[in-house]
């Protein structure tokens, strides 16, 4: 997914001289085409994420689009106050891009997991939070991000993500995409974990449980209508995200359910537990350990539906 992000960014930068890239010495093997094509719009501030974000804000304050880019939680947590005070308060046109949302960097360990980012980013006024699930969405989300004027958090996957959408998509910020229709429950996911959700839906289909599968690629602003419709027409919602249980997609959906006085017959948040993930293993394996592999998700859905 990071490759398609960088490809689209490069294409857009060819026609938009406002686009600058500000890095903190991360991006080897991916960012070189941008660096070599636009050296006057490429900055590596060194291993200094606070300065990366401040510099990007200064560039953006002068009518430009500044993209900060790094892995996992580096461009969010280390420089959170710069994002809050500089970028969000000034509504600066800064795009914060992370590569490797969730536990993409599995065996690298806890320091390289981005598992609280959605909760933190969506708490910031003026911030859009976007979590594309496959290459199709990643391409569309990159365009949408660059077309949007203001702070934007883009939680990119890593590499080798499988396609979740089988054909062209109608991608609009704040509008969920239905991957598959179903009538017994709605599975709302964000990000590449959607492939496990899709597989779980396949398994349940064989057992006579029909699942609507929805990609909630924009977590802020959240698509209220999709949530209301899911409760009214499928009876319940299960959220699935590669993120801490607190504050992410599941919380955002639950907030809408409460605010809109909805009464779903089933509601469950499937997410990483509230722990510091210290298991050693690759992303797919870690997902399985926390009940977020294909079978784990299917089992939790059945349990939530009382089946």
């Amino acid at each position: 997914m990071r490759a398609v992000f960088n490809k689209v960014l490069l294409e857009r930068a060819k026609n938009d001289p406002r686009i600058h890239m500000v890095l903190a010495d991360i991006g080897y093997g991916e960012i070189e085409p941008f660096r070599d094509t636009f050296p006057e719009r490429y900055y590596n501030v060194g291993v200094a994420e606070q300065n990366m974000t401040g510099v990007a804000c200064g560039i953006a304050m002068e009518g430009n689009i500044a993209v900060t880019y790094s892995i996992a939680n580096f461009p969010t947590l280390r420089c959170l106050e710069q994002i809050r005070n500089d970028v969000c308060y000034h509504n600066a046109n800064v795009k914060i891009v992370i590569i490797g949302g969730g536990v993409s960097y599995g065996p690298l360990g806890m320091s390289h997991h981005s598992t609280e980012d959605i909760a933190i980013m969506r708490a910031l006024p003026n911030m859009v939070v976007c979590v594309p699930c496959d290459n199709n969405e990643a391409i569309a989300a990159t365009h949408a991000m660059l077309d949007y004027d203001g702070p934007f958090y883009y939680r990119c996957g890593y590499k080798g993500e499988k396609d979740i959408h089988s054909g062209p998509i109608d991608f609009k910020l704040g509008k969920a995409i239905t991957v598959r229709e179903g009538k017994d429950v709605t599975l709302m996911f964000a990000g590449p974990v959607g492939i496990n959700v899709l597989h779980a839906a396949d398994m349940l289909e064989k057992e006579g449980i029909s699942c609507r599968v929805v990609s909630m690629h924009t977590i802020k602003p959240i698509d209220k209508e999709a949530i209301i419709d899911a409760v009214k027409n499928t009876g319940g919602i299960i959220t699935i995200e590669e993120h801490n249980l607190s504050g992410g997609l599941g919380s955002a959906v639950a907030e809408v359910i409460c605010d809109e006085h909805l009464s779903p017959k089933a509601f469950k948040r499937i997410a990483l537990p509230d722990v510091n993930v210290s298991l050693i293993g690759h992303q797919a394996w870690i997902r399985e350990q926390y009940g977020m592999g294909d079978e784990g998700i299917a089992a939790q859905i059945k349990e939530a539906l009382g089946k």
Binding site: A48, N51, G54, G58, E81, Q82, D86
Partner: protein, 270 residues
């Protein structure tokens, strides 16, 4: 220089009155930078109160945002904001908050948490260079601001980028919130440090108008480096009982002392 002195005196008396009314702190920080702020707005910055968003204006960021009232006074004196706004500084539904805010006409950027000004200014300097603009970027820092790692990250990067359109002014009063700087974080010879980091540095008396103007009108000191002006100042300059004291950081002047303090400041300026 008479005008500079007039503006600086008003900054001091306004700061004393505003913090007294508000029962708020940081009067020492406002008074130490008053002379530099006066020279900046009177002699150096290309800004226009009738057109505060003029694209080619010089940018000034007060990174020591807690001293905002000093800048608000200068902005009122220069006609960016109505004088009466000063009277409702820090008040419910007022226009001027305690830490400097870009919601106020003439203020480039909001700060308040230290270590934010220089990175953003560095980005603005890059953008000015990219736009092939002659506009200049000035940042005012403090002892506490120079403790922040992010400030030093920007110091490293601005030198790497040879940003000669960027000037850092350090209001070096050597007092910070909990003590004299030498007892908290001793920055020792800041000139040597900044030069070692690739900056062109000049050290001045931050209360001498000629020295301030001479330094700030000579930037860049080196066409290939960012410039730093270390302004040696006295915390709470103008109120002898509080000069160079830690307590002046959070202190405001109580009602019973205020007239004597104002009188002293005005007489000193004669």
């Amino acid at each position: 220089m008479e005008n500079c002195k007039k503006i600086a005196t008003r900054i001091r008396t306004d700061a004393v009155r505003m913090t007294n009314r508000a029962k708020s702190g940081h009067v020492g920080s406002m008074l130490s930078m008053a002379d530099i702020i006066a020279v900046l707005y009177e002699k150096i910055l290309k800004v226009d109160p009738k057109n505060p968003d003029m694209p080619e204006r010089d940018r000034f960021i007060l990174s020591k945002g807690h001293a905002a009232a000093g800048v608000y006074s200068a902005l009122a004196q220069k006609g960016f904001i109505p004088e009466e706004w000063l009277e409702r500084y820090y008040c419910d539904d007022g226009k001027l908050m305690g830490h400097i805010s870009h919601k106020v006409p003439g203020v480039e950027f909001s700060t308040g948490s230290l270590g934010h000004g220089l990175p953003v200014a560095t980005g603005m300097a890059i953008a000015a260079r990219y736009a092939k603009s002659d506009r200049r970027i000035f940042v005012m820092s403090s002892d506490g601001d120079m403790n922040e790692g992010s400030t030093w990250e920007a110091i490293l990067f601005a030198a790497q980028e040879h940003l000669s359109n960027l000037t850092l002014i350090i209001d070096y009063n050597q007092v910070q919130a909990l003590g004299h700087s030498e007892d908290v974080i001793d920055l020792r010879d800041l000139k040597v440090k900044l030069e070692a980091f690739g900056w062109a540095v000049r050290e001045i008396d931050g209360h001498n108008y000629e020295e301030i103007e001479s330094a700030l009108s000579s930037v860049p000191f080196d066409g290939n480096k960012p410039s730093a002006v270390i302004a040696n100042t006295i915390k709470c300059k103008g109120i002898p009982a509080l000069e160079d004291t830690v307590k002046s950081h959070y202190k405001f002047i109580p009602d019973e002392e205020i007239e004597a303090v104002i009188k002293h400041i005005e007489e000193e300026a004669k």
